[in-house]
């Protein structure tokens, strides 16, 4: 069976996607573990010690990819939400729902690692830096999405309402980011910024990229596993669920 010969639309039904997701998830988990090992090796042993910040800077190998992921996942989630609303596709809503906790987890990770990095750098656990503040607001958006999804009992309405909120949030994210940057320039008091990272050596960039790939693989694996749970829960009444 050639790759081109697969009818991809077949997998847009939860029933067909369920076994596929189960088959794919272990591969992505394996890839995530492998890439994480390489990435961590690069970040701990290959990347040079920073002459200004010492060893503490190494946390950016987790912090930066986590921050990237937190934003990517929100966009992907909003994308699934848009597809779901436009095409009335149940599986799309389920994908959006499955991605949200992982996105929130990475946002939280970015916040925690940011704080851990901030302490040795600036002597404070939290600085009202534009990026950290935006991450915090992003976390609020993830929480809002999940809270809305959880609060509405009717699945159909919960899917659509939370998808609409994800879209409204996505439209607002650039505005929020811009406003926070504007606010940061207005209040010069906290002028420290994570953007003033040391000039990045190529090896550091590679380390971050490998870590980001590992996070991607992890995200896909976890989303696939979670979407299986969602399908199993929603389709428990359906005949195909009890067949095997």
């Amino acid at each position: 069976m050639g790759v081109m010969g697969i009818n991809w639309f077949k997998y847009s039904s939860p029933q067909a996607f369920y076994p596929l997701a189960g088959k794919l998830a272990p591969y992505f988990l394996g890839a995530a573990a492998l890439l994480a090992m390489v990435g961590l090796y690069v970040s701990f042993f290959v990347a040079p010690t920073d002459f200004q910040q010492g060893e503490a800077y190494r946390i950016i190998f987790v912090h930066v990819p986590a921050a990237w992921m937190s934003m990517f996942i929100y966009l992907v989630m909003a994308g699934w939400a848009a597809v779901g609303l436009a095409l009335n596709a149940r599986l799309s809503f389920m994908m959006a729902q499955a991605l949200a906790p992982t996105g929130a987890m990475f946002t939280f990770l970015a916040l925690v690692t940011g704080a851990l990095w901030g302490k040795p750098m600036w002597g404070a656990w939290w600085v009202w830096d534009a990026r950290l503040t935006s991450e915090l607001i992003l976390l609020f958006l993830y929480i809002g999405y999940m809270a809305l999804q959880a609060a509405i009992e009717d699945v159909r309405r919960a899917d659509r309402a939370s998808a609409l909120f994800a879209l409204v949030g996505a439209v607002n994210v650039p505005i929020i980011y811009f406003s926070v940057k504007w606010w940061n320039t207005l209040h010069q008091g906290a002028s420290v910024s994570l953007t003033k990272a040391p000039a990045m050596a190529a090896v550091m960039l590679w380390g971050m990229l490998v870590m980001a790939l590992s996070f991607w693989a992890y995200t896909i694996a976890v989303a696939l596993l979670r979407v299986r749970c969602v399908i199993a829960e929603r389709e428990r009444e359906a005949a195909w669920m009890s067949e095997d």
Partner: protein, 205 residues
């Protein structure tokens, strides 16, 4: 003419009905029957265009109601489960506001006569919060005497009505049907309507 083809509706992961089909012609009243929770209200809401079915089409004079919404709502009078009565407005204001929001400016005289028909004239300047359940229902039903719409979709119109008001509504329905109107309603009573008009249909699996 209202046509419903292969309507299917799912609520809370449960199929309420599937392949539901009906045709309503002028001068006909369809009495939907079914046990509690069988999907009568869901069906009426779909027919009114308030919610969309899982599958199937509702047609008004041959056109999908999603496509001729403006035309359709100008012929439709839908009275839902809740009487849409505001406690803080007077009886008269309530009736006036509900007509206005439907795009109708009733004259003082027509408001008066509608309230007279439903026996609320003596209360027309009282706030609606002092009304009993039956009186609220009458107030909501007063629109039937005011608005000239061809298709009436009525969810439990007989609820809380006394014997006199029930008869009143029955006569109003018959007059509407005799004039070529169409009615589709739910009720757990057996409305006393001339056999020629009446058709009974079961909902639910």
């Amino acid at each position: 003419m209202l046509q419903v083809e292969a309507l299917a509706c799912q609520r809370g992961g449960r199929w309420l009905f599937d392949h539901f089909t009906l045709t309503l012609i002028p001068g006909e009243l369809i009495h939907l029957q079914g046990v509690n929770g069988s999907g009568k209200t869901s069906l009426l809401r779909i027919l009114a265009g308030l919610s969309s079915p899982e599958s199937g089409i509702v047609r008004w004079n041959g056109v999908d109601i999603q496509e001729c919404r403006d035309e359709y709502v100008s012929h439709l009078l839908y009275l839902g489960h809740q009487p849409a009565v505001k406690d803080d407005l007077t009886v008269r204001e309530n009736l006036q506001v509900s007509c206005r929001l439907a795009g109708l400016e009733p004259s003082a005289e027509s408001l008066r006569s509608a309230l007279e028909e439903t026996g609320l004239l003596s209360r027309s300047n009282l706030p609606a919060r002092v009304l009993s359940q039956g009186q609220r229902r009458r107030l909501a039903l007063s629109r039937l005497w005011l608005e000239n719409r061809r298709l009436w979709i009525l969810d439990e119109p007989f609820t809380a009505l006394d014997v006199h008001a029930t008869q009143l509504l029955e006569r109003r329905l018959e007059a509407h049907l005799a004039a070529g109107g169409m009615v589709i309603l739910t009720t757990h009573q057996q409305p006393d309507i001339a056999e020629d008009y009446l058709r009974i249909l079961g909902v639910g699996t």
